[in-house]
């Protein structure tokens, strides 16, 4: 916190701040989140609140340990956003400690050990999600079918509290496989793609969000709405989402055309799972993505390719988190090699020569 020196301009400043940026992302996530909370009712609401609180407590404790001021860093909204992103990528009826452990992993290991805001190499929410998935595979892959708030089968507040506190009996009753999970299992059993797809959600259900999945990833439509808001407010640029979705769609199309009974329809790749959430909100994480346009295109394309490879060939049914983490690791390299061309110089950094061969200087 340096007092702004007096010597150099500019002496005017755009009305922007770190907090505004973070809160805009939170705001863009709001529609999808509210819909998710509605779809999964009280247990989801409890888990969401617990995760957010844990993230903020973890941030506060880290700041205290490091001797940094609490106010500016707690109010910058970054811990809130990390907790929020983590919460909406969790199975909605997961027990409370999943949220708490995840939030501490995200904030402490994912962010603060690197030196706090802006210093982390990996997206903190994805670090936590991956750590949870590897450590607690059962809890992290138990997805309930949507039970909209106030609907007949939905758990009431007390039941919701019980679920969040770890009562699994109710969860087991309504578990439902995600599209990718189901397809993967069926294909492994030797079934054809048509057969595998028959037992799961339709594209329409993914678009609207009535399929099962993580808390906030269900509704493609609402996520796109949030993404458009981020693009409109210029918090993100189009390069990462477009190159990520584009490369995924391209690969999926090629493989689908080669063998439709083994490889999923590209539309499912785009609509099911968390790729839309990943493309607009997680891969575009400002801190962990490249800063130049070309770098962002490469980064996004890399994410798309990895998502496809993990979904199709690896053991996990979904690979957005892993794909983004792998590309995060290459961000410093991308930033080093793909810088914009400097004005008056060619790509290799030599002063331009306009090719008229005429040296006008004496």
């Amino acid at each position: 916190m340096i007092e702004r020196p007096l010597y150099s301009g500019p002496y005017a400043h755009e009305r922007v701040s770190v907090r505004r940026t973070m809160l805009l992302v939170v705001f863009a996530l709001l529609p999808a989140t509210l819909f998710g909370l509605y779809q999964y009712g009280w247990p989801a609401i409890f888990l969401f609140v617990v995760t957010l609180l844990a993230a903020i407590v973890a941030e506060s404790v880290s700041l205290w340990v490091m001797g940094k001021p609490q106010r500016p860093f707690l109010l910058d909204g970054s811990a809130l956003l990390t907790g929020w992103l983590l919460a909406i990528t969790l199975p909605p009826w997961a027990p409370w400690w999943i949220g708490v452990v995840g939030a501490f992993v995200a904030i402490v290991i994912g962010k603060q050990v690197f030196g706090g805001i802006g210093q982390n190499l990996f997206n903190p929410a994805m670090v936590a999600r991956s750590a949870l998935l590897v450590s607690f595979p059962l809890e992290m892959t138990t997805f309930p079918a949507p039970q909209p708030l106030l609907s007949a089968q939905a758990p009431d507040m007390a039941q919701g509290l019980a679920i969040t506190l770890g009562d699994t009996t109710q969860v087991d009753a309504v578990t439902s496989a995600t599209t990718f999970g189901h397809v993967k299992t069926e294909l492994t059993r030797g079934a054809g793609m048509d057969e595998a797809l028959a037992g799961t959600y339709s594209l329409w259900e993914h678009l609207l969000g009535t399929s099962s999945g993580s808390l906030g990833e269900a509704s493609v439509l609402l996520l796109l709405l949030g993404g458009v808001l981020l693009l409109y407010t210029r918090v993100i640029s189009w390069h990462i989402p477009v190159s990520m979705l584009g490369s995924l769609a391209l690969l999926a199309t090629i493989f689908h055309l080669i063998n439709p009974s083994l490889y999923l329809d590209p539309l499912f790749h785009l609509m099911a799972g968390s790729v839309i959430l990943g493309a607009f909100f997680i891969a575009t994480d400002l801190v962990t993505s490249p800063v130049s346009v070309r770098g962002q295109l490469i980064f996004g394309a890399g994410c798309g390719v990895l998502v496809f490879v993990i979904r199709t060939f690896a053991g996990y049914p979904e690979g957005v988190a892993f794909a983004i983490l792998l590309m995060n690791a290459s961000t410093p390299l991308i930033d080093h090699y793909f810088r914009p061309r400097v004005y008056g110089r060619d790509r290799r950094g030599r002063p331009l020569n306009h090719g008229d061969g005429e040296d006008r200087r004496p």
């Binding site: 702004r4 755009e14 940026t21 400097v342 004005y343 306009h354 006008r360 200087r361």
Partner: protein, 496 residues
């Protein structure tokens, strides 16, 4: 006309409406004028008047010194009260050699101020000599002697003169008013400069946010077939010479080069008016138009001000401050200079006096960089400002140069748009200064080393010479001894 795109840039709230509708007013004579001898890039001028001397308006006070320099003239008639130190028109507030003139109120012109009867029949040399003698420097703020730029024709094959009427800095409206109120003077100045440069094509660029100025210049330019008025998209830093030329011509100026490398010379619109005054009326550069504005100023105005007028006199004329300004700036808010106080005088490059209130500055506490990449997106030079700051903070100035530190034009777009409120330009200026200091130190060290080596060699030579002399003397002595011994032996033998 087809325009070319430049990269980056920002759209700051220009707040030109504060002063844009106020016609230019003549500021009354101040009680004292403080005229610095250094108002330009280059060598300081040398005074040719003495204390107590009476001078007339337009009389030479100090002549230029060297190739890149500019003379200084008396803004009005009066008595020279002294030559000494006075706070400079600079952030440091250090004192510079300044002439103090007490106006006598007659405002009488000196006899030397005679205009050319037929300006357009003057030769290019005559035009550039008259411009040099009139002390005209770039009036957009940089203050580079204009005649030096007019003489570029000797060294470069020039084809286009670009007149910068972009006035892309927020707040400033002095060029806007000038172009609206004196379009024919500006036009004639432009055509005289075109004649001096020997170019056929003149592009007069004005940002589209100044429709009245555009209309006035278009009307005035109808008489000149070679003069084309071009409306520019409004974007900061459109007025950066390199970017303006790229927008108009579509070519980038090579790194570390001049726009003249691609055959273009850029002059400011206000400079053109000064050239016209100098050549047609014989009036040296002794006054200029200054925009006094900002929310902390009671009555923002465009004032015609004598060079050397103290800033507080301008503020007083504009009704004083509404509130204590948080920033007091000479020039625009993007690239202007903070002023240490309102005592400093107006100089040839002062295009604005800004008194900004807290709401305009929107200062925020500095936060860590979140790598949002906004600075990369807005940089008109294709740099990665966040990496440059990181290397500068780590003390690796060489790396920051490799990243393009010296290609930075200091426009401040990055710092303007940074959500973390990081003072990027401050870091860059620090690094540029530090590099220059290092180079000076290195040069000094090299010189010292050279001198020491020379001294050692000299000492060695002296020592060797001494030894040589000793040896010779010894040899001589030995020879004498031997001779004596021989002689003694001879004598002994003889006496035997």
């Amino acid at each position: 006309m087809k325009l070319f795109r430049i990269r980056g840039g920002v759209h700051p709230d220009d707040r030109k409406q504060l002063s844009a509708e106020h016609p230019i007013e003549n500021l009354p004579l101040p009680p004292l004028l403080h005229i610095p001898l250094q108002q330009h890039i280059g060598a300081q001028a040398t005074p040719v008047v003495t204390r107590g001397q009476l001078v007339r308006k337009g009389e030479l006070l100090a002549r230029s010194q060297g190739i890149i320099s500019a003379p200084v003239h008396a803004p009005t008639s009066g008595r020279i009260m002294g030559i000494g130190g006075y706070p400079a028109h600079h952030a440091s507030g250090l004192s510079v050699r300044t002439l103090t003139l007490k106006p006598d109120g007659h405002d009488e012109w000196h006899d030397s101020c005679v205009g050319a009867a037929a300006p357009f029949s003057l030769s290019p040399e005559e035009i550039s000599t008259r411009v040099a003698d009139a002390g005209i420097v770039g009036m957009g703020g940089a203050g580079f002697p204009s005649s030096v730029k007019l003489n570029l024709r000797h060294r470069y094959a020039l084809h286009t003169l670009v007149i910068n009427g972009a006035e892309c800095e927020p707040y400033l409206t002095c060029d806007d008013r000038l172009m609206q109120e004196r379009p024919d003077d500006v036009r004639d100045g432009v055509m005289l400069m075109a004649r001096a440069l020997g170019v056929r094509r003149v592009l007069f660029a004005i940002e589209n946010n100044k429709p009245a100025a555009l209309a006035a210049m278009r009307e005035s330019a109808k008489a000149q077939a070679d003069l084309q008025i071009v409306g520019l998209p409004t974007r900061y830093p459109m007025g950066s010479a390199n970017h303006l030329v790229q927008t108009l011509v579509g070519k980038e100026t090579p790194a570390r080069g001049l726009t003249a490398d691609i055959g273009v010379v850029v002059h400011n619109a206000a400079t053109a008016a000064a050239v016209n005054d100098a050549i047609r009326h014989g009036r040296p550069l002794i006054s200029r138009i200054v925009t006094v504005t900002g929310r902390a100023i009671r009555r923002p105005r465009n004032l015609h001000v004598l060079i050397g007028t103290p800033m507080d006199y301008l503020v007083e004329y504009c009704g004083g401050f509404l509130e204590e300004p948080v920033r007091l700036i000479s020039g625009g808010p993007m690239m202007g200079q903070p002023l240490p106080s309102t005592r400093v005088p107006v100089v040839k490059g002062s295009n604005g006096l800004l008194a900004l209130s807290a709401s305009e500055v929107n200062d925020g506490a500095e936060m860590p960089c979140i790598r949002c990449g906004i600075c990369v997106r807005v940089c008109p030079c294709g740099l990665v400002p966040l990496s440059m700051v990181a290397t500068i903070r780590a003390g690796r100035l060489e790396s920051s140069v490799r990243l393009g530190l010296l290609d930075c034009i200091g426009c401040g777009s990055c710092a303007y748009a940074c959500p973390s409120h990081i003072p990027l330009v401050q870091h860059f200026n620090y690094a540029k200064g530090e590099l220059a200091a290092q180079q000076r130190a290195q040069h000094k060290q090299g010189e010292i080393k050279r001198l020491i080596e020379a001294r050692t060699a000299r000492m060695e030579a002296i020592k060797r010479a001494k030894q040589e002399a000793m040896r010779r003397r010894k040899a001589e002595m030995d020879g004498k001894k031997a001779e004596n011994a021989d002689r003694r032996a001879e004598t002994a033998e003889a006496s035997r």
